[in-house]
Assembly symmetry: C2
Homo-oligomer: 391 residues x 2
Amino acid sequence: MTATTHRQGWGKALRPTEKVLPEHARAHHRSMVLQHLFHAGPRSRADLARATGLTRVTVSDLVGALVTEGLVTELGARQEGKVGKPASLVALDTSAFQIVAVDLADDERMHGAVLDLAGAVVERRSATHDGRTGQAAVDALLAFCQELAAAATRPLLGVGVGSPGVIDAHGTVVEAPNRGWFDVPLAATLSDALGVPVHVANDANTAVLGEFTFGGASGSLLVLTVGEGVGAGIVLDGALVQGARHAAGELGHVTAVDERDDVEHAPLGPAQPCACGRRGCLETVLAVPALRRRIAGLDPAAADAALASVGHRLGIVLAPVISALNLSEVVFSGPAELLDGPLRDAALAAVRERTMPVISSDLELRMTSLGEDGALSGAAVLVLSGQLGVT
Amino acid sequence: MTATTHRQGWGKALRPTEKVLPEHARAHHRSMVLQHLFHAGPRSRADLARATGLTRVTVSDLVGALVTEGLVTELGARQEGKVGKPASLVALDTSAFQIVAVDLADDERMHGAVLDLAGAVVERRSATHDGRTGQAAVDALLAFCQELAAAATRPLLGVGVGSPGVIDAHGTVVEAPNRGWFDVPLAATLSDALGVPVHVANDANTAVLGEFTFGGASGSLLVLTVGEGVGAGIVLDGALVQGARHAAGELGHVTAVDERDDVEHAPLGPAQPCACGRRGCLETVLAVPALRRRIAGLDPAAADAALASVGHRLGIVLAPVISALNLSEVVFSGPAELLDGPLRDAALAAVRERTMPVISSDLELRMTSLGEDGALSGAAVLVLSGQLGVT
DNA sequence: TTTGTTAGTAGACCTTCCTTACAAATCACA
DNA sequence: TGTGATTTGTAAGGAAGGTCTACTAACAAA
């Protein structure tokens, strides 16, 4: 007498909005196969069938199509001595296509690379901004992409760009003051000019996607990028958090030093003015220039204490976020000599002090495992995700 | 030369994990149709086709099935004078099924109701806990559900329960100290005994689902429930945030009063011990008993100032969360006479002070529009969502 | 009365997946 | 060394669901 039963689970994007055609299902299944090959390495068709829940017949069909496309190659029979017909392994051909990735986080230079499908850098380039803004900056970026595309030795899967600023899900830059971009349909423009798919996202978001895909992260994590500014990208249950105005992750301009710190002998001193026009933003104490200024000329012990003070304040800001989202993984991206020591220790201690054990006991707060290339890897993930459905 | 193009969008739960069969697509489309009828009211088949993107043929077929099931009824021809054949309207029959909803947030009594599919309360009951815990508490809840089920005048779509504690996506209570429940498969147990689908979720999560569905909310919001304790539920991009350990929304035990407040004339006084064993948790100043204690015996102006102090501190805790998630809507659920005044004003002011304008300028911080029944409505949404895919 | 527009339905067709059945290749054991 | 068990991969047939095209019904405006 009851109506059809759906499965329980409110974490999986309900409020249905788009129809599902057979071809979408097909693409989804194709992505599942690629996903498993990407993360688990070479497998047999039967393995993939077990992993995906599809039948061997269907997997065979999908693999056949992928082999035809060149994305997957046959490796030959598996050498293990098990009963039954030996499996023939297939693998993702990570050299079948290449990806162009560009990182615009730096105010001085554009960093770019050609990567294979495994995220390994094949070729690296960079170019100066020369202070260009607006359309000139778009043109320079386009030329840089063309240079990289020309350097590719394989067909291009697409181009991924990580840029500072507020960027919507379609790759339109809503605002990026550094480049003088406002409502610039960057992805569409580049895609038209280059003739390949282009994906653009905020640099903190590319960082978190890179960490999520290549950093061995679990389903939910926050990546805090510390450079000229401070930003954050958040992945929850495998989905990037966009925010109401595509501005999620804006942690650099949350107040971290307030009126209660305007006292003598305050560990961080009084609140400092911020570029955003307010005072005491997290960025005024945590951005790399601020950190370097703070420890300049101090002896090691005093420098450690100063970094710990900043870490403690960072922990105070992070605690409500970690608690509200029940995050189990927080990753720092930035100069390790500043972040990966007293600062990180103090931040973790502050978070533990200020949240319940159930929240903080299994919290991991670590440095990124991707080093300098985090942003580039993340931009590549934009393409992998957008074109192949692989994350 | 490039591979298949997927659509851009990393906010929509990628990392594919489950296969999609035609029947799933069918269920999805059925949900889309119900969803539109639920929120937009009576529509013609052609309207639904335009809204869903499906063809008129397919919608006709789906509507036919829904009419057969009794969920949808034919209303007859539309009376508007437009060219062409007049449309025949169909509508969700909100009285076709009923839902049993139970709210366990109160430590004294279980509150329950029978609701129709529009979320309107048809019958209301309550029962005391009598301090029962463990299996006895489960049995009492089961008996209460049976009483409510017997009071229903229509076939039951299902049962929804909102309970304090940590509850996973399958309705298993991981821990609920108040009831002495640890790893209790509540949904499965009740479903077996009652013979109808049962959905169980944390009470703060039911609150946010209720607000999301019936409160006219946009895609992302946070509901802060203030009662004996303080909790929060978060919906981002239409999906409930679960957290790594199903403990998302735990804001009550984030430190809100710290060592910097251990000074003379601190507006809130020094940090107070909390039931969780630590000191200065948000709950120690914001929970209803704490608020009542704080303003007891004060003249109105002093009481307002005291509430504003608490609100200010709440704003400090909320600012990083609002900023990190770029929330545009924060909703308070609890006694309006305490929350909806100086406290709320001060909280909003503090958030605005401590975040960028781009984040806070279009932030709405309001009281729930569902009043006392928020939790019950939310429990009903569990069932609507789980059984019909309607949110 | 004719023309144009919109709503809803019927039938043919396409895609995709599943089920069933089968050949091939290997191991285990008599 | 043969025989059965087991596993892999593929082929053929069928079911489900959606689209496309074509049709009828019903109304407004000219």
